[in-house]
Amino acid sequence: MSIPFAHMLFLATLLFVMGAVCAMTRRNLIMILIGVEIMLNASGIAFVAGSMRWQEFQGQVMTLFVMTAAAAEIAVALALIVCVQRRTGSINANRYNLLKG
């Protein structure tokens, strides 16, 4: 396999930016979380690619921890979303703007 390493990194970056764009544009809290997942996933690709480049396991190990962290965060975040949605009935991110200024 002879793919330029830059292509892989670029793929990861592309995915990362797409995730960020998703988080920026979407008003749906769940979609924002999906954007974050995409970003974390992109970092996983970069890690694995790096691991391949340097021929060692650290990157892969890190990917595992990123996944763990992603899972943990998503769990808490979804719980919070459920919690607030239960109270206000809305998952529109921008409706939560009591605090500002």
Partner: protein, 179 residues
Amino acid sequence: MTFFDIIFYITASVVVSSTALAITRKNAVHAVCFIVISFMGTAILFYLLGAPLLAALEVIIYAGGIMVLFVFVIMMTKMEKPPVVKSSLSSQWIPAVILGSTCIIMAGILVFSDSGKWLSPPAVTGTPKDFGIVLFQDYWLAVEIASFLLLMAMIGALYLGRRKAYDPPEEKIQEKNVI
């Protein structure tokens, strides 16, 4: 260009396009479906890049666990209608796309100017055994920490998600007093 290369590029394009579709879906369930496709593609990439265990975990944790969680939550929350105001679309997307493309251009400049290294076979293959040895010998501390992370996430999610008998009514959000 080898066969693997072709598969790589095809998979990559699938991943990118499904992600692009995912982030633009109005319906969250559709988005989740596309994202699952994207994650599947990622798993293939992982496999191609010599991480079969991660490929499996990707499918199990991401595509299987997390996305199902999403679907559950989507089901639990009664989705409100998306805002009718159409103008918000451009005001939402245009700056984001500009920012995103600028970002990609910049990052692309940096990435492609990296003194181009080619990944050369044979790539190491992270067999579960090798992987486990590294993980539990060199990184046991991190594993322990990750376990605490999961414990906290569990407790936090439990605490936040638990329905209380005296959940306050909705109008409380209008309250002016900051506590």
